[in-house]
């Protein structure tokens, strides 16, 4: 019976992860182009990328002629998922768990409001940054009534405000839609 393995960290999607269950042997987790299906090599991953927790793999499978079953994984993890390569919307309940799960990675939070003009201006540039800095976790928080406790906890007056966190605490802040200042601040923190 294969041991379930969980991916707690996922990157911006470009290709599908597949698991291959070969009949009569233990399962091997192969991640890569789905075209490289017939190789039997296994690949290990750096621990900074994967951590094992529980997982349920729900997938469609098809039986191949050679007896192995190729499944297409739609990974269904328990616990917070830390995503890089894109901007993840958070709220007052999901923010700190994601920051905790990010470990020693730099985390940037865009605190915005629904009708703030400069927030709309910087949003696409923020998204581009998230696609460029794959070692940084980019989050955004709508500072509405629901999330007010978290906004108050983090502290915000000017909208937008960017908070940069490392090791579960705020280490830097950029007030206003100042792109150059934001990039400089991220560079300082991620190289510290």
């Amino acid at each position: 019976m294969p041991t379930p393995m969980a991916l707690n960290l996922c990157t911006s999607p470009k290709w599908i992860g597949t698991t291959v269950f070969e009949s009569g042997s233990s399962s091997k987790l192969l991640l890569g182009s789905s075209s490289s299906s017939s190789t039997s090599s296994t690949t290990s991953f750096s621990s900074s990328i994967l951590s094992c927790k529980s997982v349920g793999l729900k997938s469609l499978s098809s039986r191949r002629k050679n007896g192995s079953v190729r499944v297409r994984s739609s990974l269904d993890t328990t616990g917070p998922t830390v995503t890089v390569g894109q901007v993840t919307e958070v709220n007052k309940d999901t923010f700190w768990p994601i920051v905790n799960a990010a470990g020693d990675k730099t985390v940037v939070l865009d605190m915005y409001t629904q009708w703030c003009g400069p927030c709309k201006v910087i949003a696409p540039k923020y998204k581009e940054l998230s696609e460029k800095y794959l070692d940084v976790v980019f989050l955004k928080l709508d500072c509405n009534q629901d999330n007010k406790p978290l906004a108050k906890e983090l502290g915000i007056k000017v909208v937008p405000t960017f908070k940069i966190l490392k090791d579960n605490k705020v280490v830097k802040e950029v007030t206003g839609a100042k792109y150059d200042d934001l990039v400089a601040a991220i560079d300082v923190v991620r190289s510290s």
């Binding site: 999607p13 090599s41 629904q114 009708w115 703030c116 003009g117 927030c119």
Partner: protein, 144 residues
Amino acid sequence: MTSQASTFAVSVSSAPSPLRRRGNFSVVRAQVEPSDKSIEIMRKFSEQYARKSGTYFCSDKGVTAVVIKGLADHKDSLGAPLCPCRHYDDKAAEAAQGFWNCPCVPMRERKECHCMLFLTPDNDFAGNEQTITLDEIKESTENM
């Protein structure tokens, strides 16, 4: 069988699939729209105040539209057009106090509008218009 150790990014498709959707319901967030009446009031105010102060709207009128809607939204909920580009502990108290009611004190005293609604001609983002139509507001904010 060779095994290689390598470090590379793990990628998982984010394309929605029927299986994924079953368990993961996307959050439907109610995006409240300000009233047409308040939008019109704040639109007229913005045009008038830009003329009066010698400032111009952003070259990207979408920014102007969003801020006007933000002002209208606060006018609806608080009775006063509190600046939408600030966060407040007590909005009602701030609206009553008035410092951040548009036109806010920094704007009145120093023509500083960090919302990018009223821009001095030397500002890189300033356009050359002091007018915005209701249609422009609606069209540029319809996907929000």
